[in-house]
């Protein structure tokens, strides 16, 4: 049985503010030759992924796979192009149109990190990161190697429009995320062990299975309802505080990477999250 380990991680999340936090200088500090004319989503993805790769203490091999999880993708840029087209009757500029192509962030990540292997951008609502992690785990179980798995979501501006677009209350905090794990299933892999993520098609089944779990620190994702969270709190000895107050579909990536960066000696960490459409994921990490 192949074991999948987490060789490196990078936790990055910050509250979205008006005007948006500039990212270009931060990116250039990590990579002098960073591509130009990128959108905010790709800049943030690059900052997180480069930070994770630096933690790996080795150059990434070109056959390292890439799984980029996002709930909203380029919603803000797409809305801006649509507004220009439908309201101002302006056709998109070529670079702007290319930047809202679903593969553009993955392309720039691959180009900057020197990767030429599998390259996917995946969404599953608030469990987008768990879904990507689950597929990456499977791929690495089938073919030992490395995979860079990240959760990235950016806020649109003005923030009031972004909240409205997502159906959020006017006072809801928004978080911008770019948090990454480098998974390794090769024979010499080291680091925390990632157990195969588990999925249930309804909460009752998830709860029943979770009753039999060993106590440990639990992390509850933002795709769970208030009622679900309280039922899970009743089962757990310890529930980790939410990593940041605010909304982002890939907040789980930050929660998991944050726990790893604290270099825990006890565990396992049990991270449970819902996908907002009736599905539930458990991600279990053994330190």
């Amino acid at each position: 049985m192949t074991e999948v380990r987490i060789r490196a991680s990078r936790a990055m999340a910050f509250p979205a503010v008006e005007p948006p936090r500039p990212l270009r200088d931060e990116l250039r500090a990590l990579c002098q030759r960073a591509p130009r004319r990128l959108n905010r989503f790709t800049e943030l993805a690059l900052i997180g992924a480069l930070g994770c790769a630096q933690q790996a203490d080795m150059p990434l091999p070109s056959d390292c796979a890439l799984y980029l999880a996002t709930g909203q993708g380029f919603a803000d840029d797409t809305a801006r192009l649509l507004e220009a087209l439908l309201i101002e009757q302006q056709a998109p500029m070529p670079v702007d149109f290319i930047n809202v192509s679903g593969s553009s962030a993955g392309f720039y990540l691959a180009q900057t990190l020197g990767l030429d292997s599998r390259n996917n951008t995946i969404a599953a609502g608030p469990a987008s990161f768990e879904a990507a992690l689950s597929l990456a785990w499977g791929a690495l179980a089938d073919h030992p190697g490395l995979a860079l798995v990240g959760g990235v979501d950016v806020a649109g501006h003005p923030l009031a429009d972004h909240r409205q677009r997502l159906g959020l209350a006017p006072d809801t905090g928004i978080v911008e995320i770019s948090s990454w794990l480098l998974l390794d299933s090769r024979a010499n892999a080291t680091g925390a062990s990632l157990v195969r993520p588990q999925y249930w098609g309804n909460f009752a089944e998830a709860l029943e299975d979770l009753r039999a779990r060993k106590p440990g620190p639990w992390s509850l994702g933002n795709g769970l309802t208030t009622s679900e969270r309280s039922q899970l709190r009743a089962l757990a000895d310890e529930v980790l505080p939410a990593p940041d107050s605010g909304q982002a579909d890939t907040l789980s990536a930050y929660a998991i990477a944050s726990w790893l960066e604290k270099k825990p000696s006890t565990g396992p960490l049990l991270h449970l999250n819902g996908d907002g459409a009736g599905g539930y994921y458990l991600v279990e990490l053994l330190p």
Binding site: G71, A75, L85, L86, I98, A123, A131, L135, D161
Partner: protein, 377 residues
């Protein structure tokens, strides 16, 4: 332990229809006349060639995309004849480049607030998968892939791997691309749209004719007539819009290796064949590099189906499979003049064929290259 994966059910709505007999008949006849879309509401003088769905297939309106997807999925599920248990735990893999942009545009155009700010109701890249799961009461995990024109192919390749390894018993894979003006104007701004017809590998090729379609397949373990033997996805990160032959060759070789099929065993190639100068030149060179002097028959379905962007890999798989079931490989209409720089003459008439191994290419923006090898007998 990897197990064989095969196609258990298919559904397709495309420019050549929905009914299988009708679709095969049109693909055999080579009908490929694009419609001319005018977009007067934008005041841009837009006039675009397009391969739309026949108007009788789905009603216009805010839920048009949903109607397309549900019809294709319904056909695939019916054909797969799943048990109640299998259906309830069925996972959904969706691939699309524009996701529900068509619906959003329609909403925006019909609402007064579109004049001030677009209100993208329940926006998110996973909305189609969630709606399909809810509509058909499917409780397996849902994955939405958005990697430009390889979206649906990558969804299929990932689902295949999960099923082959036994982590999933079966999977529903959906590819959809619905007409939207942003896509048309975006490709127009890149200078990639044809002004007369889609002519893959032709000396006079002038670009893409976009289209819309929804396709769905149910895949499962075991033997069947259409076996998904293997595939590969790679990222050719040289230039975001200019694919290289080397990147394509590497992907085709990986796909053949995954399928344990030698290049010499390939019966025919369904080319990506977009009709653009850059893509066709690169793909032709890649095919020559891979096959050398023994290039098998090559055909492109894009003149007939239109370029259905993120859905095209799955749309063309179903169309190719239906033609094989009817005993032929479809031809490539609109080809008039060979291009000596390309050196490929796509099929000019349907080729009788009852079985074989087939290489299906799909190359997207961002160097996202994906290839699939299928066996049919």
């Amino acid at each position: 332990m990897k197990q064989p994966v095969h196609v258990q059910g298919c559904g397709l709505l495309s420019a050549v229809g929905r009914d299988r007999i009708d679709v095969v008949s049109k693909l055999h006849a080579g009908e490929a006349q694009p419609a001319v879309l005018a977009l007067p509401d934008l005041g841009l003088g837009g006039r675009f060639l397009f391969r739309p769905l026949p108007t009788r297939l789905v009603p216009d309106g805010e839920e048009r995309l949903d109607a397309m997807v549900y019809a294709a999925v319904d056909d695939a599920l019916r054909e797969a004849r799943l048990s109640v248990r299998e259906r309830r735990q069925l996972p959904v893999f969706v691939g699309s480049s524009s996701m529900d942009l068509g619906n959003i545009e329609t909403q925006a155009q019909r609402r007064a607030e579109a004049t001030t700010s677009l209100r993208l109701r329940k926006y998110g890249w996973s909305v189609i998968a969630d709606r399909v799961a809810r509509h058909f009461d499917l409780n397996g995990p849902r994955y939405s892939f958005s990697v430009a024109c390889s979206s649906a192919t990558n969804a299929l390749l990932t689902a295949m791997a999960e099923v082959a390894a036994g982590r999933l018993e079966q999977a529903l894979v959906v590819g959809v691309e619905c007409h939207n003006t942003l896509g048309l104007h975006g490709f127009n701004s890149l200078g990639m749209l044809a002004d007369d017809a889609c002519r893959p590998f032709d000396r006079q090729r002038r670009g893409l004719v976009l289209g819309e379609a929804a396709a769905a397949v149910v895949i499962g373990r075991g033997d069947g007539r259409c076996r998904l033997l293997g595939g590969a996805n790679r990222c050719d990160a040289g230039n975001i819009t200019r694919p290289t032959p080397d990147g394509m060759v590497a992907t085709m070789k990986d796909a053949l290796a995954a399928a344990r099929i030698a290049a010499g065993e390939i019966t025919a190639v369904k080319a990506h064949g977009t009709g653009t100068e850059v893509n066709d030149t690169a793909e032709a060179e890649a095919l020559h590099q891979l096959f050398g002097e023994t290039l098998p028959p090559v055909s492109s379905l894009k003149p007939q189906l239109g370029y259905t962007l993120g859905a095209n890999g799955l749309v063309e798989l179903v169309a190719w499979l239906w033609c094989l079931e009817d005993g032929f490989i479809p031809a490539t209409p609109n080809f008039r003049q060979p291009d000596p720089d390309v050196g490929i003459m796509p099929l000019q008439a349907p080729l009788p064929c009852a079985s074989g191994h087939f290489l299906l290419n799909c190359f997207g923006f961002g160097g996202n290259n994906s290839c699939l090898v299928i066996g049919y007998d």
